[in-house]
Amino acid sequence: MITINEELCKGCEICTDFCPKKVLASSNTINKKGYYLPAATHKDKCTGCRLCELMCPELAILISKE
């Protein structure tokens, strides 16, 4: 399961650019600080490699087993 912490995200888009399966994509949702948040669009494709979780500079993504 992909959880994105909306308060911590700064919209740098590293997760959307480097997700090997393109699970994450930019969305039009804006958080309180005005950053565009990523969204998990293809959750079924996620292999749980945790690349986005470790690459996120803001500790805003958590991959967990359902």
Binding site: T3, N5, E7, L8, K10, G11, C12, E13, I14, D17, F18, Y35, L51, E53, L54, M55, C56, P57, E58, L59, L62
Partner: protein, 281 residues
């Protein structure tokens, strides 16, 4: 409210979560280093009470300084290794970790780095190399690549880059590695190895600065740098078979050196003990 703000179990264990979100710019590599380091600590199951973080001045010195729960020394510019040496000699049971930037460790405190490596004192140094002095607005640093425009070299840097990891390897450190923020999994592994090694361990992490450095080289997104690191990096095994001309502009990544020299603090204690015994007889 503060409780649900953070959901990373390891962040709750090691970080002062009330300080989050971090002070870093969007897309900054320091955050990735913080994240990876947290993972390394969590996998090694280290107690935050056994850790001493020593940092200097600069963006990357903000990685441990307000965020980690361990004891923290935020020292003067360029001197974190000097302070860390003092801490380690007086508290040999504590794990002393230095996380600071290239300006701090390779630039202003370059001599401390070389001599701490030569002494082989048991501290772990993580140098976050963003190729410039980012906090002050992007001035040239000893690790800026040749010919790059920065705030103080508007016509391109005339100086060549300092390869800090190679210098430390030559100076006598027990463990030397270099990775970039693109290589997160090997970076975490190298951090763990560095924390486990007895003796001076040094990990250079090339991290992006999309704001101060990026504005001069027209790379405004963190991902632009990560793609560059992916293209330019060469594994150390492959790099050994390449000529100097071929390696120009490349980033050599991997474990550069591992040796087993005796460590400084234990040797110092042995000498002291011997002297005490001689005095008693």
């Amino acid at each position: 409210m503060k409780e649900d703000k953070i959901f990373h179990p390891r962040a709750n264990k090691y970080l002062r979560t009330e300080m989050l979100p971090t002070a870093f710019c969007p897309g900054c590599g320091c955050g990735t280093v913080l994240n990876g380091f947290l993972q390394a600590l969590d996998e090694l199951k280290l107690d935050p009470k056994e850790l001493v973080f020593v940092t200097g001045i600069g963006c990357s010195s903000w990685i441990p300084s307000p965020y980690f729960k361990g004891d923290t020394l935020h020292t003067t510019h360029g001197r974190p290794i000097a302070f860390a040496t003092g801490v380690k000699v007086m508290k040999p049971d504590m794990k002393v970790i230095v996380i600071a930037g290239d300006g701090d460790i390779a630039g202003i405190g370059g001599n401390h780095l070389i001599h701490a490596a030569r002494r082989n004192i048991d501290i772990s140094v993580f140098m976050v190399n963003n190729w410039n002095y980012g906090m002050t607005g992007g001035q040239v640093s000893p690790t800026t690549p040749f010919g790059v425009r920065t705030g103080t070299t508007p016509y391109g840097s005339a100086e060549h880059q300092l390869e800090a990891a190679e210098v430390v390897a030559a100076a006598g450190a027990n463990y030397v590695a270099r990775w970039t923020t693109y290589h997160v999994f090997p970076m975490v592994k190298a951090m763990q190895e560095a924390l486990r090694v007895k003796g001076f361990s040094f990990v250079e992490i090339i991290a992006q600065c999309p704001v101060s450095y990026g504005k001069m080289v027209k790379m405004r997104r963190g991902s632009d740098f990560l793609k560059l690191y992916k293209e330019k990096s060469v594994k150390v095994e492959k790099a050994r078979q390449m000529s100097d001309e071929e390696l120009e502009g490349k980033i050599v990544v991997g474990k550069l050196k591992e040796r087993k020299r005796t460590e400084f603090v234990s040797t110092l204690r042995q000498i002291n003990e011997r002297f005490r015994q001689e005095l008693a007889n």
